[in-house]
């Protein structure tokens, strides 16, 4: 089996704090990490490799050269090789242009039996790249996968995937080639091994630029993106807060009164008819 895992480098959200005065987010020393949801895609790929050791896993990313470190982490976890789409021309790509570049790279480096990624990235939070890559490659896609099992026999390979959606779990039978996006329900991703870290340090990461993908400058970055950001606001996240101290039994009674009154005022609840 040949697997590609799409990986994005994102800012660490745990390092963000809220400024209580301005009500906006403060970025303390920004550190870059592998998008936490991509770790579940990596874990899924590695579980398949555990079961089928002949499996080869490529980690693919698009971003500035610093994104190498995200790919090295993927190798440290157990991926076999990595490639990075990089270059100024790709800057300011929207999800459409990003997916186009990724699928062009997958076409060049593939074909792949499975293309896996996180359900979304924690910075952009769109979740569009997985289904868009599938569309560019004409493949089926299953999103929000939280459990996976693979059977090689009887051939051809058959996969059972569980999608975690709003009101329950959907169990699918599917077959490669296929794109899947993963959510946290998959279970804890493994940690890198020391040997993996050593290998990652020395690994050569393949660089892919526009000519390697067979795309023109008009087809990448802002020029290749059908959407434009016209305005960015920093909203005040904070609200006008009423604070109630409820350290005593009387305090708790008063706080319950206040909460019930608020819910009535907002039209959320109504008094039951006396029975």
């Amino acid at each position: 089996m040949k697997i590609a895992v799409l990986v994005k480098q994102v800012p660490e959200t745990d390092s963000l704090t809220l400024d209580p005065e301005t009500g906006t987010v403060v970025r303390s020393e920004e550190s870059a990490i592998v998008n936490p949801l991509d770790l579940y895609a990596l874990e899924a790929a590695l579980r398949i490799k555990d079961a089928e050791p002949a499996t080869r896993i490529l980690a693919l990313s698009m971003g500035p050269v610093q994104a190498d470190s995200a790919l090295r982490e993927a190798i440290a976890m157990g991926c076999d090789e990595a490639a990075l789409i990089t270059g100024r021309e790709f800057a300011a790509s929207d999800t459409w242009a990003t997916s186009r570049a990724l699928s062009a790279a997958l076409g060049r480096l593939g074909p792949f039996d499975l293309i896996l990624c996180g359900e979304k990235a924690t910075d952009g939070d769109t979740g569009q790249v997985g289904p868009e890559v599938a569309a560019f490659l004409g493949l089926p896609v299953l999103t929000y996968v939280g459990a996976l099992s693979l059977s090689q026999s009887p051939a051809p390979a058959e996969i059972r995937s569980e999608r975690v959606v709003e009101d329950g779990v959907q169990v699918y039978r599917c077959a490669p080639p296929l794109v899947m996006t993963f959510c946290k329900a998959l279970g804890e991703p493994r940690l890198p091994l020391l040997s993996g870290k050593r290998r990652a340090k020395e690994a050569a990461i393949r660089r892919l630029g526009l000519p390697d993908l067979g795309l023109s400058a008009e087809e990448a970055g802002a020029k290749g993106s059908p959407t434009r950001v016209v305005k960015v606001d920093r909203p005040r996240l904070t609200r006008r807060t009423s604070v109630l101290e409820a350290g005593t039994a009387e305090g708790i009674d008063a706080a319950c009164d206040a909460l019930v009154a608020l819910m009535l005022r907002k039209g959320l609840i109504e008094r039951r008819a006396a029975s």
């Binding site: 800012p11 959200t13 704090t17 809220l18 209580p20 009500g23 987010v25 936490p36 999800t95 459409w96 924690t122 910075d123 952009g124 939070d125 769109t126 979740g127 569009q128 790249v129 289904p131 868009e132 890559v133 599938a134 569309a135 089926p140 999103t143 939280g146 995937s161 999608r163 959606v165 709003e166 009101d167 329950g168 959907q170 699918y172 599917c174 077959a175 296929l178 959510c183 946290k184 059908p226 959407t227 950001v229 016209v230 305005k231 920093r234 909203p235 996240l237 609200r239 006008r240 807060t241 009423s242 109630l244 409820a246 708790i252 319950c256 206040a258 608020l262 907002k266 959320l268 609840i269």
Partner: protein, 328 residues
């Protein structure tokens, strides 16, 4: 005349209520003489006319199988065939598991732009283009986006970001039924089974959510929250810490690595409010937090912040709420 399409979903053989919110968004883009609204309904539903009562001028209904029974690829192919006949100026879907899978597939296939999970939509008064506003970067910026090329302009819209219009049964009904039988491709995923969550609804659709975090100290504490949820008709949500400690299951996690929700009421118990959590609930209607830590960031995000021991407060509140029920 603006032609606006919405992708209506079905649930249990009926039109899913989230579709009515999309109709309200579509109607907000202009008066009846300026905007004509078509609801594209995919999946079996007994009541397509409800979409007309809630604001659609026309319904295009492809009964087919339920949405979950078709892959996004098959659905996108059907929608693309409708777009070949007619190009609306705007096409909206709900930011649900279905909408957030099918619309990107359609967008990439058709070379169209798409903005995810919008919380605000409007038309630019000068140019008439659709302005699509969404929270980004963990909710700490609001980005307004337009579609530079290609029509329709497409967006998915966060559930609960707008109230449905009043039901008007006197509105004219126009339902056109269309064949929806996508060809079976060789490696099309096959839906084998659906396992609904135990509670009646997930947190994504819930009007009220009561959520718990580290303040519960251990799993047993969460039982209190489930009791309160029952008495209030709410769903139980959780912070990442509570899920990572195994106190409740992942589909209840609110935040960047869980679900983004927008209930009418969100009560956070023992949750400090890391940015990654706040990003998942900041568009809730009313926010209440109950916490012992006066410095917790969730307090500043709340309409009402109560400093109390949650093990004392929750039973008192549950008892008080017995005299009330959710308002219609």
């Amino acid at each position: 005349m603006n032609e606006v399409w919405i992708l209506a979903e079905t649930k249990g053989g009926e039109v899913a209520p989230v579709s009515f919110e999309l109709l309200a968004w579509a109607r907000s883009l202009g008066e009846a003489k300026e905007v004509s609204i078509t609801a594209v309904l995919a999946g079996p539903a007994d009541d397509p006319e409800e979409l007309c009562y809630r604001g659609a001028d026309t319904v295009v209904h492809g009964p087919g199988r339920a949405l979950g029974g078709h892959s996004a690829r098959a659905l996108a192919a059907w929608l693309a065939s409708l777009l070949e006949e007619k190009r609306p100026t705007v096409f909206l879907a709900a930011a649900t598991a279905t909408g957030r899978t099918v619309l990107p597939y359609l967008a990439a296939r058709e070379g169209l732009g798409l903005t995810a999970d919008c919380t605000e939509l409007s038309l630019d008064p000068d140019t008439g283009v659709l302005l699509q506003t969404r929270p980004a970067a963990g909710g700490n910026i609001m980005a307004t986006i337009r579609t530079a090329r290609g029509r329709p302009q497409m967006a998915t819209v966060r559930p609960h970001s707008r109230r449905p219009l009043e039901r008007e049964p006197s509105r004219p009904v126009a339902v056109e039924t269309r064949a929806f039988a996508p060809p079976e491709a060789a490696n099309e995923p096959v839906l084998l089974e659906e396992r609904p969550f135990e509670s009646s609804r997930g947190i994504a659709d819930a009007r009220f959510v009561v959520a718990g975090g580290r303040g519960f100290r251990k799993k047993e504490g969460f039982a209190l929250l489930h009791e309160l949820a029952l008495s209030l008709g709410a769903e139980v949500g959780a912070s990442r810490e509570a899920v990572d400690r195994g106190w409740t299951e992942y589909p209840r996690q609110v935040g960047l690595s869980g679900r983004t929700i927008s209930p009418d009421l969100y009560i956070a118990f023992g949750i400090s409010g890391a940015i990654q959590h706040l990003a998942g609930m900041q568009t809730a209607g009313t926010v209440v937090s109950v916490n012992t830590d006066p410095e917790a960031p969730i307090a500043a995000m709340s309409d009402l912040a109560i400093r109390a021991d949650l093990f004392e407060f929750i039973p008192a509140l549950a008892a008080r709420l017995r005299d009330y029920r959710p308002a219609d």
